[in-house]
């Protein structure tokens, strides 16, 4: 019991210090600025954005794709690690589940922001064409939100029960909330069996659903006959990219949480080393798919493809393209091959570069293609031939990213970021092993 209390002290919810409060206020300020910009967008219409006839998908859609990608690894990686019973997963699975929930919720909100008339959202259901990937997207995102929430919630039940007891005297109101959330968890064999069955089902379910989600996201693009999107390779390309975005986000958040909550004894260099290997693998797979995506069109060099690739390699989008490819992917992948590259601080820098690269990667997938239609752009003002997001778009996109971080911050603040009961069980097993050894 003393061991559990010690774990709760280390891993349980704690009030923010000054840095935590400043961080939260900062995020809220960015969110408020974005909400004001969004209200103005609602009043004035999409003309406040720089999206026009040709660049009709801009920063909102690339941001949406980024969120969907990030949500994937949080859930699928965790599910795979759970199903394969990897014991080293314990310290970071919950953080991954939290990232998944925050990302997929914000993906859903971002797609609504992109709609000029969100009041017509119901029409997506009422007039749904079941052949359209957009309809599949409308179905899969709420489904994935619910499954991600369940994946976060099921393993939390024993921890809620522990927190209920822990705060019973010091904070009765909080204890009551945790008590309700624990669903009268007593740790009985029946409850354990039911919880285990539930987690097992979710872990199996979330893998195909996660793959379907990424596939639909890719098909939103590849089913339209456009240069740069018309590829049978797109779904696996998106899935591998989602691994990269998700694992790198996870590493960055783990580093910050570990530092802020002083969890060095729980999340060790060993865990970073494992995550580093995982991220390196994800990066190399993604590099392989990138070579496929760009090299084959470069070889066949159909006219429209050649113009598109020229823009990416040497034209207007050359800087983000090479930044994403070299700084956001190739260099981190190579550094992560070395043990020194998998140290926590180095991993933080690398993961932030990869996250940044992942975000811009979506931007260069979405925008340049739209500006290269098969028929030449004509009959529109000169400014419509290019696209760069307006202030409204930056503010709103910044707000969605801040909102995702705010959700993560809120959940990290109020939930045990490392499963307490499971950690206690693992420690007990290790102690038993030590005592039984001759």
């Amino acid at each position: 019991m003393a061991a559990i209390e010690s774990l709760i002290k280390d891993l349980g919810p704690k009030k923010f210090d000054l840095r935590g409060k400043v961080w939260t206020v900062l995020l809220i300020a960015v969110v408020v600025a974005g909400i004001i910009a969004y209200i103005d967008q609602l009043i004035q219409g999409q003309k406040v954005t720089n999206m026009r006839d040709y660049a009709l998908w801009g920063i909102y859609i690339s941001n949406f794709v980024f969120f969907v990608a990030t949500s994937f690894v949080g859930s699928v990686t965790v599910a795979i690690l759970r199903l394969t019973n990897n014991s080293w997963r314990t310290p970071f699975v919950r953080i991954a589940e939290i990232i998944a929930v925050a990302s997929i919720i914000m993906a859903g909100i971002t797609i609504m922001i992109d709609m000029a008339r969100p009041d017509r959202l119901i029409n997506l259901f009422v007039h749904a064409r079941l052949q359209s990937p957009i309809t599949w997207d409308v179905i899969i995102i709420p489904t994935y939100i619910v499954i991600s929430l369940l994946l976060l919630y099921f393993p939390l039940l024993p921890d809620f029960a522990l927190l209920k007891k822990h705060f019973a005297l010091s904070k009765p109101k909080l204890s009551k909330i945790y008590g309700r959330l624990s669903l009268n968890w007593s740790g009985s064999p029946v409850q354990k069996m039911l919880q285990s069955r539930g987690i097992q089902i979710i872990c199996i379910l979330i893998i195909p659903i996660g793959i379907i989600l990424q596939t639909i996201d890719a098909w939103l693009f590849s089913t339209t006959y456009r240069v740069g999107w018309d590829s049978t390779n797109f779904a696996p390309y998106f899935i591998s990219g989602a691994f990269v975005a998700g694992v790198s986000s996870l590493v960055a958040v783990i580093y910050v949480v570990r530092k802020v909550k002083k969890l060095e004894n729980y999340i060790t260099n060993f865990h970073f080393d494992k995550m580093g290997r995982f991220l390196a693998l994800a990066c190399f797979i993604y590099i392989y798919f990138n070579i496929n995506e760009y090299l084959i069109p470069a070889f066949t060099s159909k006219k429209a493809e050649a113009v598109h690739l020229e823009t990416l390699f040497r034209g207007d989008y050359a800087f983000p393209f090479w930044f994403v490819t070299i700084v956001g992917l190739l260099i981190p992948a190579v550094i992560l091959l070395f043990k020194a590259g998998r140290k926590p601080k180095t991993m933080l820098v690398l993961s932030l570069l990869v996250v940044l690269g992942s975000w811009w990667k979506r931007y260069i997938i979405v925008t340049p293609t739209l500006l290269h239609p098969f028929y030449p752009i004509q009959g529109v003002p000169e400014s419509w031939r290019t696209y760069f997001p307006s202030l409204h778009e930056w503010l709103i996109t910044g707000a969605t990213l801040a909102m995702a971080l705010l959700i993560i911050t809120f959940l990290v603040r109020h939930l045990p970021v490392i499963p307490i009961q499971r950690t206690a069980d693992e420690q007990m097993q290790q102690d038993e092993l030590k005592t039984t050894e001759p």
């Binding site: 007039h127 749904a128 064409r129 079941l130 052949q131 599949w136 179905i139 489904t143 619910v146 499954i147 369940l150 919630y153 099921f154 039940l157 669903l183 009268n184 968890w185 007593s186 009985s188 029946v190 409850q191 039911l194 919880q195 069955r197 539930g198 089902i201 979710i202 379910l205 659903i209 379907i212």
Partner: protein, 285 residues
């Protein structure tokens, strides 16, 4: 006093000078209407006048729509009003004729006048059309496995054969007819033309609608004989309009999409409901 008179006179002159151009302008703005009227006869169908009204306004030919035109059958000094028509937005109008009700002169020539009485901005105008009644009979004949259109042109009143008249043979198409005959294809002494129909012309159910046309003749106007002949290559309808396809409307969703998506949705949400049931069971224990 004298000065004020001068001022008054100057003002009157200035007013007249200033007002003159607008007065003149009003009279200049009255535009001349051009009327065009062609007699067209479809054999075994209807005969009509095809009328078009236009005017030159601001150096541009402009269609004059919504004006009323009077059609009169003129014979010697007699004028018989046949009726009126109003032009449409394109300045066009069709006036149906019943030749049995018309009177011809001693040379069997019909004379019809189309007139416009004018408005404040448009001058009065008229156009006279003269024509005789011709009969064009077209038939499909086959010789040595080659299909031909054989047509005979006669004067409908005197029944005399019309020779050296240019008669075209063409197939009706969506945008413009496909001409089969030579540019100049004159009737012979028997008032006949013979035009071969090339193989391989596509038609719905192999049906070709073939027009034999005496076009814009000075004496007889335009006379058309239309004939349906099953001598074309059948058009295979490749439209997927009524099929269940990935690009069809939502009421024609392919069955496999309905089944696959439906099973996925039901399977996933069924499992989610089962998971929620597990949660309620946990709460009860």
């Amino acid at each position: 006093m004298k000065i004020s008179r001068y001022i008054q006179s100057a003002l009157v002159i200035a007013f007249l000078v200033a007002g003159m151009p607008s007065l003149l302008g009003q009279s200049q703005e009255k535009h001349r209407v051009r009327l065009k009227a062609d007699y067209i006869k479809h054999m075994d169908a209807r005969s009509y006048l095809d009328i078009k009204a236009s005017a030159r306004i601001n150096k541009q030919t402009t269609d004059i729509g919504g004006i009323e035109l009077l059609v009169v059958n003129e014979i010697d000094d007699e004028e018989i009003e046949l009726g009126t028509l109003t032009t449409d937005q394109k300045g066009e109008g069709v006036f149906a004729l019943d030749l049995n009700g018309l009177k011809a002169d001693s040379l069997n020539t019909y004379s019809l006048s189309v007139s416009f009485k004018g408005t404040d901005s448009l001058r009065r105008a008229s156009r006279t059309v003269q024509f005789k009644d011709a009969a064009l009979v077209a038939n499909l004949v086959t010789r040595d496995s080659v299909h031909y259109i054989e047509a005979v042109l006669k004067d409908a009143v005197t029944d005399s054969l019309l020779v050296e008249q240019n008669v075209k043979v063409q197939v009706q198409r969506l945008f413009a007819p496909l001409v089969l005959s030579e540019e100049i294809n004159l009737t012979d002494e028997a008032g006949t033309i013979l035009v071969a129909i090339p193989e391989g012309i596509p038609g719905v159910n192999s049906k070709l609608t073939i027009e034999t046309v005496l076009e814009d003749s000075d004496d007889y106007g335009t006379v058309k004989a239309i004939l349906d002949a099953a001598v074309g290559v059948p058009i295979v309808d490749e439209s997927t309009f009524d099929e269940r396809t990935l690009w069809a409307p939502r009421n024609k969703t392919p069955i496999f999409i309905l089944l696959f998506t439906g099973l996925l949705v039901v399977g996933t949400w069924g499992t989610i409901l089962y998971l929620i049931r597990i949660l309620t069971k946990i709460a009860k224990h």
